[in-house]
Subunit: 244 residues, 2 copies
Amino acid sequence: MVEISRKQREIQQRTREILRVAKPILIAEGFQALTMDRLASRMEYAKGTIYNHFPNKEEIVLALAIEAMKLRHKLFDQASTGDRPARIRLMTIGVACEFYTQRCTEEFQVEQWMRNANIWDKSSSERQRIIRECEAGCMQVVARLVRESLAQGELLALDHLTPEEMVFGLWAITFGSQILTASSPSLQALGVFDPIRTIRIHCCRLLNGFGWQPIQSEKEYLKLVEEISAEYFPQFEQIQREHR
Amino acid sequence: MVEISRKQREIQQRTREILRVAKPILIAEGFQALTMDRLASRMEYAKGTIYNHFPNKEEIVLALAIEAMKLRHKLFDQASTGDRPARIRLMTIGVACEFYTQRCTEEFQVEQWMRNANIWDKSSSERQRIIRECEAGCMQVVARLVRESLAQGELLALDHLTPEEMVFGLWAITFGSQILTASSPSLQALGVFDPIRTIRIHCCRLLNGFGWQPIQSEKEYLKLVEEISAEYFPQFEQIQREHR
DNA sequence: GAAATTTCTGACGCTGCGTCAATAATTGAC
DNA sequence: GTCAATTATTGACGCAGCGTCAGAAATTTC
Protein backbone atom coordinates (compact mmCIF):
# COMPACT_ATOMS: atom_id res chain seq x y z
CA MET A 1 0.00 0.00 0.00
CA VAL A 2 1.70 3.15 -1.21
CA GLU A 3 -0.85 5.41 0.44
CA ILE A 4 -0.49 3.94 3.88
CA SER A 5 3.25 4.16 3.75
CA ARG A 6 3.07 7.77 2.63
CA LYS A 7 0.84 8.59 5.59
CA GLN A 8 3.13 6.70 7.88
CA ARG A 9 6.13 8.49 6.51
CA GLU A 10 4.44 11.79 7.23
CA ILE A 11 3.79 10.73 10.77
CA GLN A 12 7.36 9.58 11.29
CA GLN A 13 8.50 12.81 9.77
CA ARG A 14 6.51 14.74 12.34
CA THR A 15 7.80 12.63 15.16
CA ARG A 16 11.30 13.64 14.12
CA GLU A 17 10.13 17.23 13.85
CA ILE A 18 8.86 17.14 17.43
CA LEU A 19 12.22 15.86 18.62
CA ARG A 20 14.00 18.52 16.58
CA VAL A 21 11.97 21.23 18.31
CA ALA A 22 12.11 19.67 21.77
CA LYS A 23 15.86 19.14 21.87
CA PRO A 24 17.05 22.76 22.01
CA ILE A 25 14.46 23.56 24.67
CA LEU A 26 15.67 20.68 26.82
CA ILE A 27 19.33 21.56 26.23
CA ALA A 28 19.06 25.28 26.76
CA GLU A 29 16.42 25.51 29.45
CA GLY A 30 16.12 22.11 31.06
CA PHE A 31 13.39 19.58 31.51
CA GLN A 32 10.95 21.77 33.35
CA ALA A 33 11.00 24.31 30.52
CA LEU A 34 9.99 21.60 28.10
CA THR A 35 6.22 21.91 28.43
CA MET A 36 3.76 20.32 26.09
CA ASP A 37 1.90 23.59 25.53
CA ARG A 38 5.08 25.35 24.56
CA LEU A 39 6.15 22.55 22.29
CA ALA A 40 2.73 22.52 20.64
CA SER A 41 2.67 26.24 20.02
CA ARG A 42 6.19 26.21 18.58
CA MET A 43 5.22 23.37 16.30
CA GLU A 44 1.96 25.02 15.27
CA TYR A 45 0.14 21.87 16.21
CA ALA A 46 -2.28 21.31 19.04
CA LYS A 47 -1.18 19.63 22.21
CA GLY A 48 -3.36 16.61 21.50
CA THR A 49 -1.42 15.97 18.32
CA ILE A 50 1.85 15.80 20.20
CA TYR A 51 0.21 13.31 22.51
CA ASN A 52 -0.54 11.15 19.48
CA HIS A 53 3.20 10.76 19.08
CA PHE A 54 4.38 10.57 22.67
CA PRO A 55 2.33 9.49 25.67
CA ASN A 56 4.13 12.00 27.90
CA LYS A 57 6.95 14.50 28.20
CA GLU A 58 9.34 11.98 29.62
CA GLU A 59 9.06 9.73 26.62
CA ILE A 60 10.31 12.56 24.42
CA VAL A 61 13.46 12.73 26.48
CA LEU A 62 13.98 8.99 26.14
CA ALA A 63 13.41 9.19 22.40
CA LEU A 64 16.11 11.85 22.24
CA ALA A 65 18.33 9.69 24.41
CA ILE A 66 17.95 6.76 22.03
CA GLU A 67 19.21 8.96 19.20
CA ALA A 68 22.07 10.12 21.37
CA MET A 69 23.12 6.62 22.32
CA LYS A 70 23.00 5.47 18.73
CA LEU A 71 25.51 8.17 17.92
CA ARG A 72 27.67 7.06 20.82
CA HIS A 73 27.49 3.52 19.59
CA LYS A 74 28.58 4.53 16.09
CA LEU A 75 31.55 6.45 17.47
CA PHE A 76 32.56 3.44 19.55
CA ASP A 77 32.26 1.16 16.55
CA GLN A 78 34.37 3.42 14.42
CA ALA A 79 36.97 3.66 17.16
CA SER A 80 37.19 -0.08 17.69
CA THR A 81 37.95 -1.03 14.11
CA GLY A 82 41.33 -1.18 12.45
CA ASP A 83 44.28 -3.49 12.89
CA ARG A 84 46.21 -1.83 15.63
CA PRO A 85 46.75 -3.60 18.95
CA ALA A 86 43.63 -3.87 21.06
CA ARG A 87 44.97 -1.56 23.71
CA ILE A 88 45.46 1.17 21.15
CA ARG A 89 41.92 0.67 19.90
CA LEU A 90 40.72 0.78 23.48
CA MET A 91 42.45 4.11 23.85
CA THR A 92 40.68 5.20 20.70
CA ILE A 93 37.37 4.41 22.34
CA GLY A 94 38.49 6.57 25.23
CA VAL A 95 39.13 9.34 22.74
CA ALA A 96 35.67 8.72 21.25
CA CYS A 97 34.22 9.13 24.72
CA GLU A 98 35.99 12.42 25.16
CA PHE A 99 34.84 13.54 21.72
CA TYR A 100 31.28 12.60 22.60
CA THR A 101 31.33 14.47 25.89
CA GLN A 102 32.98 17.55 24.48
CA ARG A 103 31.81 17.86 20.91
CA CYS A 104 28.42 16.19 21.15
CA THR A 105 27.52 18.11 24.26
CA GLU A 106 23.84 18.11 23.43
CA GLU A 107 23.67 14.35 23.15
CA PHE A 108 25.75 13.99 26.27
CA GLN A 109 23.36 16.27 28.15
CA VAL A 110 20.39 14.33 26.90
CA GLU A 111 21.93 11.15 28.29
CA GLN A 112 22.17 12.86 31.66
CA TRP A 113 18.49 13.72 31.60
CA MET A 114 17.65 10.17 30.67
CA ARG A 115 19.35 8.89 33.84
CA ASN A 116 17.14 11.16 35.89
CA ALA A 117 14.99 8.82 37.98
CA ASN A 118 11.87 10.97 37.55
CA ILE A 119 12.16 10.78 33.81
CA TRP A 120 13.27 7.18 33.50
CA ASP A 121 10.51 5.85 35.72
CA LYS A 122 7.70 7.55 33.81
CA SER A 123 8.78 6.22 30.44
CA SER A 124 7.55 3.15 28.65
CA SER A 125 9.40 -0.09 29.21
CA GLU A 126 9.77 -0.38 25.46
CA ARG A 127 11.99 2.68 25.19
CA GLN A 128 13.78 1.68 28.39
CA ARG A 129 14.55 -1.65 26.76
CA ILE A 130 15.94 0.00 23.64
CA ILE A 131 18.20 2.16 25.73
CA ARG A 132 19.47 -0.79 27.67
CA GLU A 133 20.17 -2.48 24.37
CA CYS A 134 22.22 0.47 23.19
CA GLU A 135 24.09 0.40 26.46
CA ALA A 136 24.75 -3.30 26.07
CA GLY A 137 25.89 -2.65 22.50
CA CYS A 138 28.48 -0.13 23.66
CA MET A 139 29.56 -2.50 26.39
CA GLN A 140 30.02 -5.28 23.87
CA VAL A 141 32.20 -3.21 21.57
CA VAL A 142 34.65 -2.75 24.41
CA ALA A 143 34.30 -6.23 25.85
CA ARG A 144 35.19 -7.62 22.44
CA LEU A 145 38.50 -5.80 22.58
CA VAL A 146 39.19 -7.29 25.98
CA ARG A 147 38.45 -10.80 24.72
CA GLU A 148 40.65 -10.25 21.70
CA SER A 149 43.43 -8.99 23.89
CA LEU A 150 43.20 -12.03 26.09
CA ALA A 151 43.33 -14.28 23.04
CA GLN A 152 46.38 -12.43 21.69
CA GLY A 153 48.15 -12.59 25.01
CA GLU A 154 48.43 -8.78 25.20
CA LEU A 155 46.47 -9.04 28.40
CA LEU A 156 46.98 -11.83 30.92
CA ALA A 157 44.06 -13.99 31.98
CA LEU A 158 41.67 -12.14 34.28
CA ASP A 159 41.22 -14.81 36.90
CA HIS A 160 38.74 -12.87 38.92
CA LEU A 161 36.82 -10.82 36.40
CA THR A 162 34.69 -11.38 33.36
CA PRO A 163 35.68 -9.27 30.34
CA GLU A 164 32.53 -7.23 31.00
CA GLU A 165 33.63 -6.65 34.57
CA MET A 166 36.97 -5.50 33.23
CA VAL A 167 35.08 -3.00 31.07
CA PHE A 168 32.88 -1.97 33.97
CA GLY A 169 35.86 -0.41 35.73
CA LEU A 170 36.72 1.71 32.71
CA TRP A 171 33.09 2.61 32.22
CA ALA A 172 32.76 3.61 35.87
CA ILE A 173 35.83 5.82 35.88
CA THR A 174 35.01 7.66 32.65
CA PHE A 175 31.33 7.92 33.41
CA GLY A 176 31.95 8.97 37.00
CA SER A 177 34.42 11.64 36.01
CA GLN A 178 32.07 13.02 33.38
CA ILE A 179 29.19 13.29 35.82
CA LEU A 180 31.38 14.85 38.46
CA THR A 181 32.79 17.30 35.95
CA ALA A 182 29.32 18.20 34.73
CA SER A 183 27.71 18.48 38.16
CA SER A 184 30.49 19.95 40.24
CA PRO A 185 30.99 23.51 39.11
CA SER A 186 33.99 23.93 41.31
CA LEU A 187 36.33 21.03 40.64
CA GLN A 188 38.98 23.70 40.27
CA ALA A 189 38.31 24.83 43.82
CA LEU A 190 38.70 21.23 44.97
CA GLY A 191 42.17 21.07 43.45
CA VAL A 192 41.29 19.25 40.24
CA PHE A 193 42.60 21.44 37.47
CA ASP A 194 42.46 19.27 34.38
CA PRO A 195 39.91 16.50 34.83
CA ILE A 196 40.31 15.15 31.29
CA ARG A 197 44.05 14.73 31.47
CA THR A 198 43.65 13.38 34.98
CA ILE A 199 41.34 10.65 33.79
CA ARG A 200 43.58 9.82 30.87
CA ILE A 201 46.40 9.23 33.30
CA HIS A 202 44.22 7.16 35.61
CA CYS A 203 43.08 4.97 32.72
CA CYS A 204 46.67 4.44 31.68
CA ARG A 205 47.67 3.48 35.21
CA LEU A 206 44.66 1.24 35.59
CA LEU A 207 45.45 -0.68 32.43
CA ASN A 208 49.09 -0.86 33.43
CA GLY A 209 47.92 -2.22 36.75
CA PHE A 210 46.35 -5.04 34.79
CA GLY A 211 49.62 -5.51 32.92
CA TRP A 212 48.02 -4.70 29.62
CA GLN A 213 50.65 -4.44 26.87
CA PRO A 214 52.20 -2.72 25.00
CA ILE A 215 52.33 0.60 26.83
CA GLN A 216 54.37 1.33 29.88
CA SER A 217 55.16 4.97 30.18
CA GLU A 218 52.60 7.57 30.99
CA LYS A 219 54.34 10.05 28.74
CA GLU A 220 54.14 7.69 25.78
CA TYR A 221 50.47 7.12 26.61
CA LEU A 222 49.55 10.78 26.72
CA LYS A 223 51.40 11.43 23.48
CA LEU A 224 49.57 8.56 21.80
CA VAL A 225 46.21 9.81 22.97
CA GLU A 226 46.96 13.16 21.39
CA GLU A 227 47.94 11.49 18.12
CA ILE A 228 44.86 9.30 18.08
CA SER A 229 42.76 12.33 18.89
CA ALA A 230 44.12 14.23 15.92
CA GLU A 231 43.79 11.27 13.59
CA TYR A 232 40.24 10.31 14.49
CA PHE A 233 38.81 13.75 14.95
CA PRO A 234 37.74 14.16 11.31
CA GLN A 235 36.19 10.71 11.21
CA PHE A 236 34.25 11.37 14.38
CA GLU A 237 33.10 14.71 13.03
CA GLN A 238 31.96 12.96 9.89
CA ILE A 239 29.87 10.49 11.92
CA GLN A 240 28.45 13.34 13.93
CA ARG A 241 27.40 15.14 10.74
CA GLU A 242 25.83 12.05 9.22
CA HIS A 243 23.90 11.50 12.39
CA ARG A 244 21.61 14.50 11.91
CA MET B 1 16.67 35.88 76.42
CA VAL B 2 15.55 32.48 77.57
CA GLU B 3 12.19 32.90 75.90
CA ILE B 4 13.59 33.62 72.48
CA SER B 5 15.93 30.71 72.61
CA ARG B 6 13.09 28.41 73.67
CA LYS B 7 11.04 29.65 70.71
CA GLN B 8 13.99 29.19 68.43
CA ARG B 9 14.60 25.71 69.76
CA GLU B 10 10.99 24.88 69.00
CA ILE B 11 11.39 26.13 65.49
CA GLN B 12 14.59 24.19 64.95
CA GLN B 13 12.87 21.19 66.42
CA ARG B 14 10.11 21.49 63.87
CA THR B 15 12.56 21.90 61.03
CA ARG B 16 14.05 18.58 62.05
CA GLU B 17 10.55 17.16 62.31
CA ILE B 18 9.77 18.22 58.75
CA LEU B 19 12.89 16.50 57.52
CA ARG B 20 12.04 13.40 59.53
CA VAL B 21 8.63 13.21 57.85
CA ALA B 22 9.87 14.14 54.39
CA LYS B 23 12.69 11.63 54.23
CA PRO B 24 10.69 8.39 54.08
CA ILE B 25 8.37 9.87 51.45
CA LEU B 26 11.32 10.83 49.28
CA ILE B 27 13.01 7.46 49.79
CA ALA B 28 10.00 5.27 49.28
CA GLU B 29 8.08 7.17 46.62
CA GLY B 30 10.45 9.61 45.01
CA PHE B 31 10.62 13.34 44.64
CA GLN B 32 7.33 13.81 42.83
CA ALA B 33 5.48 12.09 45.67
CA LEU B 34 6.93 14.60 48.09
CA THR B 35 4.25 17.28 47.85
CA MET B 36 3.90 20.17 50.22
CA ASP B 37 0.21 19.46 50.81
CA ARG B 38 0.95 15.90 51.75
CA LEU B 39 3.81 16.87 53.98
CA ALA B 40 1.65 19.46 55.69
CA SER B 41 -1.22 17.09 56.33
CA ARG B 42 1.11 14.41 57.71
CA MET B 43 2.68 16.97 59.99
CA GLU B 44 -0.67 18.37 61.06
CA TYR B 45 0.53 21.82 60.17
CA ALA B 46 -0.66 24.05 57.37
CA LYS B 47 1.30 24.34 54.19
CA GLY B 48 2.21 27.93 54.93
CA THR B 49 4.01 26.83 58.07
CA ILE B 50 6.22 24.47 56.12
CA TYR B 51 7.03 27.39 53.83
CA ASN B 52 8.24 29.29 56.88
CA HIS B 53 10.95 26.68 57.22
CA PHE B 54 11.82 25.94 53.60
CA PRO B 55 11.29 28.24 50.63
CA ASN B 56 10.49 25.27 48.36
CA LYS B 57 10.39 21.51 48.02
CA GLU B 58 13.84 21.30 46.55
CA GLU B 59 15.41 22.94 49.54
CA ILE B 60 14.09 20.14 51.73
CA VAL B 61 15.98 17.64 49.62
CA LEU B 62 19.16 19.66 49.93
CA ALA B 63 18.70 19.91 53.67
CA LEU B 64 18.41 16.14 53.81
CA ALA B 65 21.46 15.85 51.58
CA ILE B 66 23.49 17.99 53.94
CA GLU B 67 22.67 15.60 56.77
CA ALA B 68 23.61 12.69 54.55
CA MET B 69 26.93 14.15 53.56
CA LYS B 70 27.80 14.94 57.14
CA LEU B 71 27.36 11.26 57.91
CA ARG B 72 29.57 10.36 54.97
CA HIS B 73 32.19 12.79 56.18
CA LYS B 74 32.17 11.25 59.66
CA LEU B 75 32.60 7.76 58.24
CA PHE B 76 35.52 8.95 56.12
CA ASP B 77 37.11 10.62 59.12
CA GLN B 78 36.80 7.52 61.20
CA ALA B 79 38.25 5.41 58.42
CA SER B 80 41.22 7.66 57.85
CA THR B 81 42.50 7.66 61.43
CA GLY B 82 44.83 5.14 63.01
CA ASP B 83 48.49 4.39 62.52
CA ARG B 84 48.43 1.89 59.71
CA PRO B 85 50.07 2.67 56.38
CA ALA B 86 48.23 5.23 54.32
CA ARG B 87 47.27 2.75 51.65
CA ILE B 88 45.55 0.58 54.23
CA ARG B 89 43.67 3.59 55.55
CA LEU B 90 42.77 4.50 51.99
CA MET B 91 41.32 1.03 51.63
CA THR B 92 39.40 1.63 54.81
CA ILE B 93 37.84 4.69 53.23
CA GLY B 94 36.87 2.48 50.35
CA VAL B 95 35.20 0.18 52.84
CA ALA B 96 33.47 3.19 54.40
CA CYS B 97 32.17 4.09 50.95
CA GLU B 98 30.77 0.61 50.52
CA PHE B 99 29.23 0.74 53.96
CA TYR B 100 27.63 4.05 53.16
CA THR B 101 26.19 2.85 49.88
CA GLN B 102 24.93 -0.41 51.27
CA ARG B 103 23.99 0.25 54.86
CA CYS B 104 23.08 3.90 54.69
CA THR B 105 20.97 3.39 51.61
CA GLU B 106 18.62 6.20 52.51
CA GLU B 107 21.39 8.73 52.78
CA PHE B 108 22.94 7.43 49.61
CA GLN B 109 19.64 7.81 47.78
CA VAL B 110 19.21 11.32 49.09
CA GLU B 111 22.62 12.20 47.66
CA GLN B 112 21.41 10.96 44.28
CA TRP B 113 18.37 13.20 44.43
CA MET B 114 20.55 16.12 45.35
CA ARG B 115 22.58 15.69 42.14
CA ASN B 116 19.39 15.95 40.13
CA ALA B 117 19.76 19.11 38.07
CA ASN B 118 16.09 20.11 38.55
CA ILE B 119 16.49 19.97 42.30
CA TRP B 120 19.97 21.44 42.56
CA ASP B 121 19.16 24.44 40.40
CA LYS B 122 16.09 25.45 42.36
CA SER B 123 17.86 25.45 45.71
CA SER B 124 19.45 28.35 47.50
CA SER B 125 23.08 29.02 46.89
CA GLU B 126 23.60 28.90 50.64
CA ARG B 127 22.72 25.22 50.87
CA GLN B 128 24.60 24.54 47.65
CA ARG B 129 27.64 26.08 49.26
CA ILE B 130 27.34 23.92 52.34
CA ILE B 131 27.12 20.81 50.21
CA ARG B 132 30.16 21.77 48.23
CA GLU B 133 31.94 22.30 51.51
CA CYS B 134 31.04 18.80 52.67
CA GLU B 135 32.26 17.47 49.36
CA ALA B 136 35.50 19.33 49.72
CA GLY B 137 35.81 18.01 53.27
CA CYS B 138 35.55 14.42 52.07
CA MET B 139 38.01 15.16 49.30
CA GLN B 140 40.47 16.58 51.80
CA VAL B 141 40.33 13.54 54.07
CA VAL B 142 41.53 11.42 51.18
CA ALA B 143 43.95 13.94 49.71
CA ARG B 144 45.63 14.14 53.11
CA LEU B 145 46.36 10.42 52.90
CA VAL B 146 47.91 10.89 49.48
CA ARG B 147 50.11 13.72 50.74
CA GLU B 148 51.15 11.65 53.71
CA SER B 149 51.99 8.72 51.49
CA LEU B 150 54.11 10.90 49.28
CA ALA B 151 55.95 12.21 52.32
CA GLN B 152 56.54 8.69 53.62
CA GLY B 153 57.76 7.45 50.25
CA GLU B 154 55.03 4.79 50.06
CA LEU B 155 53.93 6.50 46.89
CA LEU B 156 56.35 7.96 44.37
CA ALA B 157 56.08 11.60 43.36
CA LEU B 158 53.12 12.30 41.11
CA ASP B 159 54.79 14.40 38.49
CA HIS B 160 51.66 14.99 36.53
CA LEU B 161 48.89 15.10 39.09
CA THR B 162 48.00 17.07 42.17
CA PRO B 163 47.08 14.91 45.17
CA GLU B 164 43.49 15.99 44.60
CA GLU B 165 43.67 14.82 41.01
CA MET B 166 44.97 11.51 42.30
CA VAL B 167 41.88 11.31 44.52
CA PHE B 168 39.65 12.37 41.66
CA GLY B 169 40.31 9.10 39.86
CA LEU B 170 39.31 7.04 42.88
CA TRP B 171 36.30 9.25 43.44
CA ALA B 172 35.25 8.89 39.81
CA ILE B 173 35.54 5.13 39.77
CA THR B 174 33.66 4.53 43.02
CA PHE B 175 31.08 7.19 42.32
CA GLY B 176 30.62 6.05 38.74
CA SER B 177 30.18 2.44 39.71
CA GLN B 178 27.66 3.34 42.38
CA ILE B 179 25.56 5.38 39.99
CA LEU B 180 25.73 2.71 37.34
CA THR B 181 24.81 0.04 39.85
CA ALA B 182 21.91 2.10 41.13
CA SER B 183 20.60 3.18 37.75
CA SER B 184 21.24 0.13 35.62
CA PRO B 185 18.85 -2.56 36.80
CA SER B 186 20.44 -5.11 34.54
CA LEU B 187 24.17 -5.03 35.15
CA GLN B 188 23.85 -8.78 35.52
CA ALA B 189 22.47 -8.99 31.97
CA LEU B 190 25.44 -6.94 30.78
CA GLY B 191 27.83 -9.51 32.23
CA VAL B 192 28.73 -7.67 35.43
CA PHE B 193 27.96 -10.13 38.19
CA ASP B 194 29.57 -8.65 41.26
CA PRO B 195 30.06 -4.91 40.83
CA ILE B 196 31.38 -4.39 44.33
CA ARG B 197 34.12 -6.97 44.10
CA THR B 198 34.83 -5.76 40.58
CA ILE B 199 35.46 -2.24 41.78
CA ARG B 200 37.58 -3.44 44.67
CA ILE B 201 39.80 -5.20 42.17
CA HIS B 202 39.94 -2.18 39.89
CA CYS B 203 40.92 0.08 42.77
CA CYS B 204 43.66 -2.34 43.73
CA ARG B 205 44.97 -2.45 40.17
CA LEU B 206 44.73 1.29 39.83
CA LEU B 207 46.76 1.91 42.95
CA ASN B 208 49.24 -0.76 41.89
CA GLY B 209 49.44 1.04 38.54
CA PHE B 210 50.64 4.05 40.54
CA GLY B 211 53.13 1.83 42.34
CA TRP B 212 51.56 2.53 45.69
CA GLN B 213 53.10 0.33 48.38
CA PRO B 214 52.82 -2.00 50.23
CA ILE B 215 50.33 -4.22 48.43
CA GLN B 216 51.08 -6.23 45.34
CA SER B 217 48.80 -9.20 45.10
CA GLU B 218 45.15 -8.89 44.35
CA LYS B 219 44.38 -11.85 46.58
CA GLU B 220 46.10 -10.19 49.52
CA TYR B 221 44.17 -7.02 48.75
CA LEU B 222 40.76 -8.67 48.69
CA LYS B 223 41.51 -10.53 51.91
CA LEU B 224 42.57 -7.31 53.56
CA VAL B 225 39.43 -5.53 52.47
CA GLU B 226 37.38 -8.28 54.07
CA GLU B 227 39.34 -7.97 57.31
CA ILE B 228 39.02 -4.21 57.37
CA SER B 229 35.34 -4.57 56.64
CA ALA B 230 34.81 -6.86 59.59
CA GLU B 231 36.89 -4.72 61.90
CA TYR B 232 35.33 -1.37 61.05
CA PHE B 233 31.77 -2.51 60.63
CA PRO B 234 30.83 -2.00 64.30
CA GLN B 235 32.47 1.42 64.39
CA PHE B 236 30.64 2.50 61.29
CA GLU B 237 27.37 1.22 62.68
CA GLN B 238 28.03 3.19 65.83
CA ILE B 239 28.54 6.38 63.84
CA GLN B 240 25.40 5.66 61.88
CA ARG B 241 23.42 5.25 65.11
CA GLU B 242 24.77 8.44 66.64
CA HIS B 243 23.89 10.30 63.50
CA ARG B 244 20.10 10.12 64.01
C1' DG C 1 -5.98 43.05 80.07
C1' DA C 2 -5.40 45.25 75.84
C1' DA C 3 -2.36 46.66 72.20
C1' DA C 4 1.48 45.13 69.47
C1' DT C 5 3.85 41.57 67.48
C1' DT C 6 4.61 37.13 65.87
C1' DT C 7 3.04 32.89 63.97
C1' DC C 8 -0.13 30.06 61.58
C1' DT C 9 -3.65 29.04 58.24
C1' DG C 10 -5.83 27.47 54.08
C1' DA C 11 -8.31 29.51 50.11
C1' DC C 12 -6.61 31.39 45.99
C1' DG C 13 -4.24 32.24 41.54
C1' DC C 14 -1.55 30.11 38.42
C1' DT C 15 0.89 26.77 35.65
C1' DG C 16 1.11 22.62 33.29
C1' DC C 17 -0.25 17.76 32.61
C1' DG C 18 -3.08 14.54 30.14
C1' DT C 19 -8.04 13.64 28.36
C1' DC C 20 -11.75 13.48 25.32
C1' DA C 21 -15.87 15.16 23.00
C1' DA C 22 -16.33 17.77 19.14
C1' DT C 23 -14.61 19.05 14.66
C1' DA C 24 -12.01 18.53 10.44
C1' DA C 25 -9.70 15.93 6.98
C1' DT C 26 -9.01 11.80 4.39
C1' DT C 27 -10.29 7.61 2.29
C1' DG C 28 -12.54 4.45 -0.65
C1' DA C 29 -16.91 2.34 -2.36
C1' DC C 30 -20.14 3.17 -5.74
C1' DG D 1 -18.00 13.26 -8.06
C1' DT D 2 -20.46 12.15 -3.83
C1' DC D 3 -21.00 10.67 0.62
C1' DA D 4 -20.60 7.56 4.52
C1' DA D 5 -16.96 5.68 7.26
C1' DT D 6 -12.74 6.15 9.14
C1' DT D 7 -8.90 8.57 10.89
C1' DA D 8 -6.57 12.69 12.59
C1' DT D 9 -6.63 17.10 14.93
C1' DT D 10 -8.06 20.37 18.19
C1' DG D 11 -8.21 23.01 22.43
C1' DA D 12 -11.31 23.59 26.48
C1' DC D 13 -11.53 21.10 30.60
C1' DG D 14 -10.59 18.67 35.01
C1' DC D 15 -7.21 18.07 38.10
C1' DA D 16 -3.01 18.33 40.89
C1' DG D 17 0.41 20.77 43.05
C1' DC D 18 3.23 25.01 43.80
C1' DG D 19 3.88 29.15 46.30
C1' DT D 20 1.35 33.44 48.20
C1' DC D 21 -0.82 36.37 51.29
C1' DA D 22 -4.77 38.46 53.77
C1' DG D 23 -6.71 37.52 57.74
C1' DA D 24 -7.17 34.56 62.13
C1' DA D 25 -4.98 32.92 66.20
C1' DA D 26 -1.53 32.87 69.57
C1' DT D 27 1.97 35.05 72.12
C1' DT D 28 4.46 38.80 74.01
C1' DT D 29 4.87 43.30 75.96
C1' DC D 30 3.67 46.98 78.70
